[in-house]
Symmetry: C2
Subunit: 203 residues, 2 copies
DNA sequence: GACACTCTGTCCGAACACTTGACACCGGCA
DNA sequence: TGCCGGTGTCAAGTGTTCGGACAGAGTGTC
């Protein structure tokens, strides 16, 4: 049994993140006030600092949690496809669709005074990238063990960066981007799998 | 906003009560172990004592919470009847039916080593009685303001004691008991309301 | 009858987390 | 320039929980 204290700690963190996320969605990075987050969860300001270090730490934690949820959803999309190429296409499309509807991402990209928040996806995007690599990588290795680990990593990396770019700078609709990426990457995967005779070549 | 600490306190209490109730249902009063309750909620034994004083306090708290829930249900049965006599009948029937299905009551009355727990409904039943008076009284005053407060109290008291007796010592089926009580009490209510011409007299 | 065992109930010091109030610092603004 | 609202840090104070120890009651066993 996990101790009551542990569960309480996790719940505190979660409620603080809820309040912070709400604030960011409503007013961007500038609208995020440490004192307000504390007040809303019924806790002292100091407690927020104890938990997240500083304002940037709080924002990162919000982003990390949302990223986890996001990736969980994308992973289920992958899980529905038996073929890696189809999985890639499905994941990309799902990710771009989700992103376009996600209030936190929208706020980070469009809210006034959110130049800082948007950096979580660009110049300071290591955290999100790493998390995504971790979760997607594990999922891919589990679902398509026939794809060599190194190649999977390469594909995930390329796709990830392209997807993030499309989130930050929207272009064609999700399905089109997904198709494009699948077309571009499938020969690499096919070759690596020794499946030149595959029924899917897209060339 | 309620403070996080307050909410945590309430949650702790609730989880302790959950564990205790489960233990009583499974093993009666004797099966209720303070150490086990603590272990199951992931807290020290001392914390349980801090919260409830002693084992009897814990049992009373379990009973009080369950009584509240029970009465909430009975009150909704009352609320569905526009006429006080019908309300009385409905409440009695609902209460007896609920009681016959309630695991906690069943355990208190039948589990080996539950002579203590059963006292919550008999020799040490003040708490339950008072709670029921409080909740039912308020509800009756609210729904049938035409019934004088004192008369309502009398009726509630009589009905309550009869119902508890039937819970402790089951007799005829709920509907029969409900009819009996309605028949016995309706003349009193009708007379008090100056409604001798009422369409319902049951005599 | 002596003994071990289990559970209740109490005590107390250590550890821990949260609160409170104060302060330095910074940028925007009248 | 001085005020104001915000961030970030600090130390002291508070409250709660933990852990371990202990006495006492009841039960079963040899």
């Amino acid at each position: 049994m996990t101790s009551f204290a542990d569960r309480t700690k996790r719940r505190l963190r979660d409620e603080l993140l809820d309040a912070a996320q709400e604030a960011v969605v409503a007013g961007g990075y500038d609208g995020l006030r440490m004192a307000e987050v504390a007040r809303r969860t019924g806790v002292s300001r100091q407690t927020v600092y104890n938990e997240f270090g500083d304002k940037w730490g709080l924002l990162e934690a919000v982003a990390a949690r949302e990223t986890e949820r996001f990736l969980l959803d994308v992973n289920t999309a992958i899980a529905e496809q038996p073929d890696p190429i189809d999985g890639l296409r499905a994941a990309v499309e799902r990710a771009l669709t989700l992103a376009s509807e996600n209030p936190l991402i929208k706020a980070a990209l469009s809210q006034p005074g959110s130049d800082q928040a948007s950096q979580l996806l660009t110049t300071r995007g290591q955290q999100v990238l790493e998390l995504a690599h971790l979760r997607l990588g594990a999922h891919v290795r589990e679902h398509w063990p026939e794809v060599p680990a190194e190649d999977a990593t390469s594909c995930v990396d390329v796709a990830l960066r392209v997807v993030i770019s499309h989130i930050v700078t929207p272009g064609p609709p999700p399905a089109a981007v997904a198709d494009q990426l699948a077309r571009v990457l499938s020969p690499f995967l096919a070759q690596k799998r020794g499946l030149a005779e595959s029924r899917r070549l897209y060339l």
